[in-house]
């Protein structure tokens, strides 16, 4: 079920009505939320709920064993079991065809005749998100960083909680399970603020991403020929905006919906396009994934505790796997590699050049960071390397006779919107929406809210999927 659909509106109204009715006690409400979460997921593909159940069951049992087992060898075996099941599902469903394809290429390249038909596998929606979430629980249990969930119901709800089930934020057990222990009710202000966040999230997705930016990006990245520099830049900027509004929109909706239930989810984006440098970017973009990768991959690989070389290797491996997490294609690996290289270069430069950031050089560095990020988005969006190559060379103005694909209005629309996006991120980089809203007059807030709602209503979003559902 998509947040930007009629069925979700009806679903949410029913869930809220039951949640705030006096029909259930707190355990009953949690059961209702769990059931609703399975319905939310199952309305897309009912049989794939079984994967959620298996993942939940395995990690619940593993967590239970890890909480009592003292034998280190046995603890390791339990952790291994959980990792095998979770990563096994992820590997099969998400990377099965990718591995098969690469194996075939490898065989053919060493002269072995081998052909394999791609397997007909459905990618379960949000599998990367809930897999990482359940794995964090088991790993934290193994490392004794978190308490075991008190009841199976609390744990199952933690794995399946519908607002963040399919596209995050990826929440740690310690941050969410403990919220289920005591009855939660949103205050009136929390409820209204949650509704406001839901409106903003839908506005970002339906109006900004789908209505204003997606067509331009699709047109440019779907082009067969070589484009002019202006067209390539417009398409890439459009995608940079589209993916931000799409994903941040989902996260904002998720946080808002959870808040309407009195549950607090962590921020997932903090105005990333105003980041100064790439370490800053990853503190602002998809925060729940970048902190997951830091805690469960980068630090176990050695982090910055074992010398500079090891740190750079850990950084590159983390970013390469982070790229692969997004999709089973080499273009995603290149995307991750570019981010890894950017981070390594930034750390090298930071040791040699010391700049005191002020408003002028800050905005210049933020713009530079954003420009470099756009080159990475080309690999993220392009389905083929040839497309990425064409776009990159055009962005470097190496194709002087490239085709003019876009109309003037489309170019203006993208540049105006992206400029506003960048300014907005720059202005907001050290504050939060909540802080700003406190200083805004109720009239202005109400008018802005109404404008967003009106534009969502007339945009008539056709229920297009969120980009991150495929990851």
């Amino acid at each position: 079920m998509l947040f930007n659909s009629l069925s979700f509106i009806v679903f949410l109204v029913i869930v809220l009505a039951l949640y705030y009715s006096k029909l259930f006690n707190w355990t009953g409400k949690k059961r209702m939320l769990l059931f609703a979460s399975y319905v939310f997921y199952g309305l897309w593909n009912p049989p794939l709920v079984i994967l959620l159940w298996i993942s939940t069951g395995v990690d619940w049992i593993t967590g239970k064993k890890l909480s009592t087992e003292e034998n280190q060898k046995k603890r390791k075996l339990w952790l291994l079991l959980s990792m095998c099941v979770n990563l096994g599902f992820l590997g099969f469903f998400k990377y099965g065809n990718f591995l098969l394809e690469n194996f075939t290429h490898l065989m053919n390249s060493i002269g072995v005749e081998y052909q394999a038909q791609p397997m007909d596998i459905i990618l379960p929606m949000g599998i990367s998100f809930y897999t990482f979430q359940t794995m964090s629980y088991t790993i934290d249990m193994y490392l004794k960083r978190t308490e075991r969930a008190k009841t199976f119901l609390d744990f199952a709800l933690y794995v399946t909680f519908f607002p963040q089930l399919v596209a995050g934020p990826i929440v740690r057990a310690g941050d969410l399970i403990s919220q289920f222990y005591e009855e939660k009710r949103a205050t009136i202000n929390q409820f209204i603020w949650g509704t406001f966040l839901l409106t903003i999230g839908l506005f970002q997705k339906v109006v900004l991403a789908d209505t204003l930016l997606s067509d331009t990006s699709d047109e440019v990245f779907g082009a067969k020929g070589v484009l002019s520099g202006l067209d390539a830049w417009t398409g890439t900027l459009a995608f940079s905006g589209q993916i931000f509004f799409d994903f941040a929109g989902y996260s904002t909706c998720a946080i808002g919906i959870a808040l309407m239930l009195g549950i607090i989810l962590p921020d997932n984006f903090r105005y990333p396009y105003a980041a100064i440098g790439f370490s800053d970017l990853w503190r602002r973009w998809h925060i729940s994934l970048s902190t997951w990768l830091r805690d469960y991959l980068y630090i176990p690989l050695g982090g910055n505790k074992h010398g500079i070389l090891r740190m750079y290797v850990a950084l590159m491996v983390t970013m390469l796997l982070g790229g692969l997490w997004h999709g089973a294609a080499w273009t995603f690996v290149i995307w991750g590699a570019l981010h890894g290289i950017y981070l390594v270069i930034e750390r090298l430069l930071r040791n040699k050049i010391h700049i005191k950031i002020n408003a002028i050089n800050g905005i210049f560095l933020a713009l530079l960071t954003y420009t470099l990020v756009n080159f990475t988005w080309v690999f993220f969006r392009a389905r083929e390397f040839s497309t990425a190559k064409n776009i990159i060379t055009s962005m470097l103005f190496m194709n002087s006779d490239g085709e003019k694909l876009l109309q003037t209005f489309d170019i203006l629309k993208v540049f105006v919107l992206i400029t506003l996006l960048f300014i907005c991120h720059w202005v907001m980089r050290n504050t939060s929406m909540e802080e700003v809203s406190k200083k805004t007059s109720p009239w202005l807030l109400g008018i802005a809210w109404a404008v967003m709602f009106f534009l969502i209503a007339i945009a008539q979003g056709s229920g297009e999927q969120f980009i991150y559902f495929q990851f």
Binding site: F409, K438, A450, I458
Partner: protein, 346 residues
């Protein structure tokens, strides 16, 4: 921070804005209508799975959609046909789906619009892809998508402001379409697609009469003719007569062998379009070999005096009034031939 006041302001202003929007578009002549999208089509396609030998399925391009009126068909036969024709699309992928993925052995009427029927078997070509994408959607649609469609129907039937289309008509009023109509200059230097406005109203069971405006407003009808000229003159792909005929014949043979009743119909066209069809997709070279090889019952509109003088307002489809006449008369002819049985019980 007290958020009740902004919420109250937002709700009040939203209601005022949406009401104003609704009233404005109604004052511009818009009326609530359904979108002939993949969901509407899929609901009809699902009916084929449980259809019996007494049922009838209509396949083809937009001519079958416009020219066969379901009320008239039902009045003559007692059976309401399942309308699966798809505008701008080849009927071949849909016929292939029904023959190969169902056990249906009732009547299938296939409309032969030469420019689309004989266009291609290439999966990425528009006439094929448009039809195949509907077949794929029918197979893959989720329960959530079914529910969304079901919930959207009462809204579509009652509010103009939710009016939008999968086709992307020039007179759509969703935000994206309104923005797409803004043009500053033609930077690409390529010919611009002429305005293509919706010219029919579709009902829930996909009964699709032409709008009155198209039948009576010559200027409006001419704007549709301009689109046909743009599309036809811009099409550089020659017809694939052999490939399309052979593809269809294989499915036709299979369908008739299991007892299915196959009927081919060439619906009326007129003016510039008719001239082009006669010249480049002639009856002798395209229609006759198909009919002879398929051994299906076949009806060519020009063979019947009552249809010879029918004029299509925009050269390709009948007005609602003429479509009602055409349906009634053709069904009577088919019944007289034994091509259709009369299951009507009085």
């Amino acid at each position: 921070m007290n958020l009740k006041q902004p919420l109250f302001i937002a709700i009040t202003l939203s209601i005022i804005c949406l009401l104003s929007w609704e009233i404005y578009w109604r004052s511009q002549g818009k009326i609530p209508d359904l979108d002939d999208d993949k969901n509407l089509w899929a609901v009809q396609r699902a009916k084929v799975d449980n259809a019996t030998e007494n049922d009838a399925v209509l396949l083809g391009s937009s001519r079958v959609l416009f020219d066969f009126q379901l009320d008239e068909w039902q009045a003559e036969t007692g059976v309401r046909p399942i309308q699966l024709a798809s505008a701008g699309a080849s009927p071949l992928p849909i016929f292939h789906d029904i023959v190969n993925n169902t056990n249906y052995k009732g009547t299938i009427l296939v409309g032969v619009t030469p420019g689309l029927f004989f266009s291609t078997t290439y999966p990425e070509a528009s006439p094929w892809k448009r039809a195949q994408s509907r077949v794929d959607y029918f197979k893959d649609r989720t329960y959530a998508q079914r529910l969304n469609h079901w919930l959207s129907l009462p809204l579509q039937k009652n509010f103009v402001l939710v009016s939008t289309s999968e086709e992307g008509w020039s007179d759509d009023i969703d935000l994206k379409s309104l923005l797409n109509n803004i043009s500053i200059s033609n930077r690409t230097g390529k010919p611009q697609y002429p305005p293509f406005n919706s010219f029919a109203y579709i009902e829930e069971d996909r009964n699709n009469p032409m709008s009155k405006k198209t039948a009576t407003d010559t200027v409006f009808a001419n704007s549709i003719k301009t689109v046909w000229k743009f599309l036809i003159m811009g099409n550089q792909n020659p017809p694939e007569r052999e490939a399309t005929t052979n593809f269809f014949l294989a499915d036709a043979k299979k369908f008739m062998e299991r007892g299915g009743n196959l009927i081919l119909v060439r619906c009326p066209s007129s003016g510039w379009i008719k001239g082009g069809e006669d010249k480049f997709l002639s009856r002798e070279e395209f229609w006759e070999p198909l009919v002879n090889a398929s051994k299906a019952k076949a009806y060519y509109f020009e063979d019947y005096n009552q249809f010879k003088n029918l004029i299509c307002p925009e050269d390709s489809h009948l007005s609602a009034k003429d479509a009602r006449f055409f349906t009634t008369e053709l069904v009577r002819i088919m019944k007289a031939d034994g091509a259709l049985s009369n299951s009507k019980t009085n």
